[in-house]
Symmetry: C2
Subunit: 492 residues, 2 copies
Amino acid sequence: MSSHFLHDLLNPKSIAFYGASNSYQKFGSMLFMRVINSGFEGNIYPIHLELDNVQGLKAYKEIADVPEIPDLAVLVIPSKIILKILRECAEKGVKYFVIVSGGFREMTGNYKNTLTEEIIKIADKYGIRIIGPNCLGIYNGWLDPDENKSFNMMLTHQIGLGKFSLVSHSGTVSSQLFRDPANMDLKLGKTLSIGNEANIDLVDFLEYFKDDDETEVIGLYIEEIKRSKKFIELAKEITLKKPIIAMYGGGTRAGNRAISSHTGSMAGNAKLFDAMVNETGIIQTHYVEEFLDIASILSKPSFVYPKGNRLGILTTFGGPGALVANNAERLGLAVPELSESLQQKFKKFLPPTANCMNPVDATFDPNILNFYVKYPKMLMKSGEIDAIILIGVAGFFYDILRLQEQEGSKDMVSQEAFIEQLKDLEKVLITPTIKFSQKYSIPVIYINTQNLASTWSSKIREQGGIVFKFWDRPVKALIKICKYVEYRKLHS
Amino acid sequence: MSSHFLHDLLNPKSIAFYGASNSYQKFGSMLFMRVINSGFEGNIYPIHLELDNVQGLKAYKEIADVPEIPDLAVLVIPSKIILKILRECAEKGVKYFVIVSGGFREMTGNYKNTLTEEIIKIADKYGIRIIGPNCLGIYNGWLDPDENKSFNMMLTHQIGLGKFSLVSHSGTVSSQLFRDPANMDLKLGKTLSIGNEANIDLVDFLEYFKDDDETEVIGLYIEEIKRSKKFIELAKEITLKKPIIAMYGGGTRAGNRAISSHTGSMAGNAKLFDAMVNETGIIQTHYVEEFLDIASILSKPSFVYPKGNRLGILTTFGGPGALVANNAERLGLAVPELSESLQQKFKKFLPPTANCMNPVDATFDPNILNFYVKYPKMLMKSGEIDAIILIGVAGFFYDILRLQEQEGSKDMVSQEAFIEQLKDLEKVLITPTIKFSQKYSIPVIYINTQNLASTWSSKIREQGGIVFKFWDRPVKALIKICKYVEYRKLHS
């Protein structure tokens, strides 16, 4: 268990909440509702000047009335009363705060905004720590994983628990990426919106995540780095053990205009940022889908790092095989032609129309056991490739099943026998390959053009398989992962 | 109605089908099943040496027994009997063929493959036209749109009917992209897998689509261009009226290895292909998702072309606004700072924390009517931008509704009143903006991080709105569309 103060802040046992009411359409009420719905079992004390009851919970007029010292106070209130409330809570003994309210330096473009300065003064005086202001707060999926309880102010949808932790200067990036979990393969541990960083900044989070067992992959959305020297030192240390993936909101004129008014960040320089990224081994991306893709691959418990950048392409789909080969080679992976002897081994099993050079194109190969298990293993054992993309993992058997059910004709092959065949198929087709993958340290990525939540994609994912619907994004993600592997080799 | 021969081929009134049986797991049976399930109402004559009945339909021993001359014959049979069957059908009077069977030049790497040559000879002798060999065939959604009937050998899922037509050297690209229609915003008219092009090639399809009223946007997956001079001539003519979007499977060493064994295509040169694309105004992409994104935007009936490349960003999400601004400017769109007078107009309505420079960041603006209608209109009327991305079209009201239903507390705002408020909301928030968009010829793209099939995204799409879940891909698609607009300006 981490002894860092942020661990305590993220795992409060009791909360005071300012700014919730019984009108669901109010912002503070929405955040409050999420805390209640996420199953937080500690004491929750809504503070409200007029109401006796907020969303079913007894409300208190002021913090002094609360019968214990809450671990955390959440403030969703007008900025003009922030200082007063902050002082009252600090006097009561509250140590940790989330100030959601905005209207600070981002209004004036002036970092030395008086209100922010006052907050910092109070924080220093009382030794309190504050996330925000101008943020959305916290999601901590690890509050009580055994009981499936989280501390959630932000997420509107349930998402699986994993070891990806995200810290963001944008409330949206911290909270809105997860509204379609069925179409993502990402499991999430913690996500935080940290706003203007009056008193807790990125460096604090890097320090926390460095030794946090619940964090294996770190994601950052950055608008400004306040303590850049310390940040770089820490990032260098962390990336040798845990990957950091970062998106940067500044750099161009338009981007800088946006961040200066968003979090009041200073205009950034893309070249400086790129240099920092290269120096620290941070995986940088400009694209949110790529950010999520890399995070989902790296935080998959079964994922293993490739040892090099040679891609093996195993496909039943000729066109996509060609497109992957083209993109991989064009963008920086090697797609080596397989050795003559390995090609000969494949030729023993494959139909005469098949290409064995790499891509290995099994065409419409009816022997799925070969395609899913034997061929990947042959590629892995060869030592000729470092990563595999398996294209055309199409789950056609489920299409057939569906069509048989629709049709229901008596002339058809026995429905029961077919269902029996399909039972536990993933344990035959996927599990062994994942095991080989780990043994040889060769990652395998499956491409199934069905929905990620389709039966077959779900079954592959349940076995630990990494699944994408289309084939472009995993190639791009792999390239960045290989570059990171290269960095670690050079700096370890 | 098109008088091109391909129109007849795609709209047969009767079909002979070789290679279907009562075993659903056989390839030919699967294609046949789709034809039946798609509601084809003409006569279907399965030809089978042994069976009297195939999937519920009377089967015939040979084509001579069929009581009429079928418009089209589909052959899913071993290549060794292809010539015999082809002759028998031609003797019967069948004019159009789809030869699904593979094992032709792609086996030998030799274009002058004897079997292909023999097929061409027979075709020439009888004046028959053949799609394939080595293909998956046809989907024509326009067979009988009033009755919702299609001619479908390929698609496993129903997809909405539109004016995007796709022709592909890859069976996968023609058929497998559409297996998750709920997460796509693309409507499809026709898709064809044309394999080795023994007798009908890309040029034939360009000729057909040029004047085909059911085709407004053309998609191509290309491994080889056989009649390149004619192709370029036609493409130049077409792109001035209808966009052509192309992906190319060759170019790199690995890509060329793949295509040579896939369709037996000659090794390609990426630079030559790029030059051809630039000369003809074809929109090229390397990525299947981008291919689909551009196709879905351009084939949306409400879509209007931008007049230039100045992007206006209207957002409630600060971080994504910054990321869009950054990517747009970095990749080639202009993101102009709005004029002082326009900024002043926005400042009248926006909260003091809002940025009005572009991005226009409305932050957590409770006035959704302004955000959805007034602000886009202000941007459009200004003449300062050519396209708009609206970020943070979040449909939170539906989240609130869902949570209210879960909670069911009596203290909450009246559920009925709220549902009443939401009724027809899209007609208030979306429809006027789509109309302005068309009036000013300024396309609007909505970003909602919910599932595309979510209530709010669906409602926006129903009104003609273009919706993306994340913000990167529409920026990239817009850049290619703007480049195409530029080409048309220069060449019209």
